[in-house]
Assembly symmetry: C2
Homo-oligomer: 400 residues x 2
Amino acid sequence: MTGGRRSVEEHVEHVAALLAPLRTRPTVKVPLARALNRVLAEPIHAPIDLPAFRNSQMDGYAVDAAAVATVPVTLPVRGVLAAGAGMSVHETGTARKIMTGAPIPEGADAVVPVEDTTDNSSTDGQATVTVHRSVAAGTYVRERGSDIAAGAELLPAGQLIAPRHIAALAAVGMTEVPVRALPRVAVISTGSELVFGGTDLGPGKIFNSNGPALAASALANGAEVVSVDHSEDDAEEFALKIAHATDVAEVVITSGGVSKGDFEVVKDVLGPRGGEFVSVAMQPGGPQGTAVVDGIPILAFPGNPVSALISFEVFTRPLLRAAAGLPAIEPSMLPLTADLTSVAGKRQFFRARRDGDGVTVVSGPGSHLVAGMSGADALLDVAADTTSLRAGDLVKVLPL
Amino acid sequence: MTGGRRSVEEHVEHVAALLAPLRTRPTVKVPLARALNRVLAEPIHAPIDLPAFRNSQMDGYAVDAAAVATVPVTLPVRGVLAAGAGMSVHETGTARKIMTGAPIPEGADAVVPVEDTTDNSSTDGQATVTVHRSVAAGTYVRERGSDIAAGAELLPAGQLIAPRHIAALAAVGMTEVPVRALPRVAVISTGSELVFGGTDLGPGKIFNSNGPALAASALANGAEVVSVDHSEDDAEEFALKIAHATDVAEVVITSGGVSKGDFEVVKDVLGPRGGEFVSVAMQPGGPQGTAVVDGIPILAFPGNPVSALISFEVFTRPLLRAAAGLPAIEPSMLPLTADLTSVAGKRQFFRARRDGDGVTVVSGPGSHLVAGMSGADALLDVAADTTSLRAGDLVKVLPL
């Protein structure tokens, strides 16, 4: 289909259907040190008890509680247990000096903190300790499995891995973590007027911003960017770059070449291959294309840089984040700081900034105002049938 | 100083003074494709006008507005200007077909959209166009510098770089971006009871979780982790590892060996070198040490994994983020979902979860409950002099 018209909602649904395969993610194993900010592909069950053995919560003396039921009482000391010590057997009526984390001797059932004792070795040379306070059985003993028992679910599938999850995974001895594979995205900017930074800007040329910006957008939303390429307005070159991109990526994003000019390379190449090029009732970003080449979905965005970025935000970001397992970016309702008029019949995405007073439109409506857009931190989303809003009206705001 | 007591606020100030040098960041240049999520070290002024030349906002015909003041009018067409075309000169009373983004011919002052014209070449073979609608001078013309003028500030120093900033930087042709150097952090876990995942967990041993977790915490808060090391409870080994860490890092974080046991390697080595080992009135995380070795600050956290993570959150995270130029994580006030008692005289950091109803304590108070902490998403921060709170009371909550 070429030349059809669609609402934003219809095109969102259309793109969601095309990108549905991305939601089924393969599982990949990554080293624990690379697991931060990845998403668990499956629930993790603790392979061991935590703690793995009964151990002391305090620096003090391991005793049997019955021996210190009446205090003060002086007990012979049978050595010292450091953290990392092996298992030992308790002799009723004695004490062992014990450090935090050291294994409780078998048969001991409590720890007297060092603060509640007197070590007699320094005063009378005897290896004895005087206990000044009774403790109940279990006091300052960390029971085996009391944090988590072997086999219990430590972390659920879908968990976005933060440092505290790294701590838990490390604590049960995991060195590799099964995570969702990142969605693989390729970007192809098009346009013979584009040149790359670092080269001379000849007459009539502009620097390519869509390539770097769309790649950064994909990266910032959980994708792996496997290719960032550029094509002149040349059908053969573009077809080759598409062939490469569909080889390596799960979704390809192009910019430019989808409008009504005489030289629309994306439309010219993909149209005959079943691509759909439609006019979506939105500004900026109206001309949109989609295609499937060798089973890989292609999203063809318009070439104006603001249009390309807003196309990404509206049509791609939610789907990429969902595929990656990242939380959705929720819109909010904020008051307008000034009156606003909006073109009838097209959903408008104004560049805006939020502050304590509400949301303010920044930058003009031109879809080439890429510097202007850099000063925005949100899009103000105005429905197609709304033509005027007043200061103080609540409006839908999408954080950028 | 060893054995002193401090409030949390005092220790926060003490650590802030030690880490003050980190706030002065060197500037490093990174390729544009690596600039996402970095922080601009200096303001960026546009090196060129954007747009760099007057160009068409529409596909249509470049005209002089005077020639289309009365419509319909038929004008000779002097060729086609694609985007990327060079500069040309307009002949009064003629038209040039022009594509979006193509340079406006010198002397033309407006663009008639293609929708408001009839191309006669297909009907009568004449290279003429009939214009059906008048346009004012300036219509659909993007003036040079109308987005930003050369020399104007494009982005301010301190800007956290998002995709839209990549777009703006690319659009003005920048290939390298001056950003704040990442703070370089080294982590040393200590403890002879620790073993690494992938090895057998012998009797009395536990898996090292502090190394990976503190490294991930630093990484998640804008640091570059330049070394993650481990030391047995051996003074010589620890001294060597500290020497290495202070060689490569700007701040060193250690875990373990700071308490009152018989084997406190961090305290034993750093105490005689001017280290301060104090008791901070907080739970968990009371035993804290600091030192400066070869000019590099060392933060010595306790070894219980929950204590180590909470020490990072309270004493290090805000300073690292500020050094990196990342936004602060702001605490919020939320209602408690259940009554709560808190130990007098010590500021308590409970592990908690937030939901629509407020904040709920999860996991017990034990500082070894690392699996329990992984289920939290916030710390509930209860002042030292507060001993009881009721369901519904507003409490201070630090997002993890």
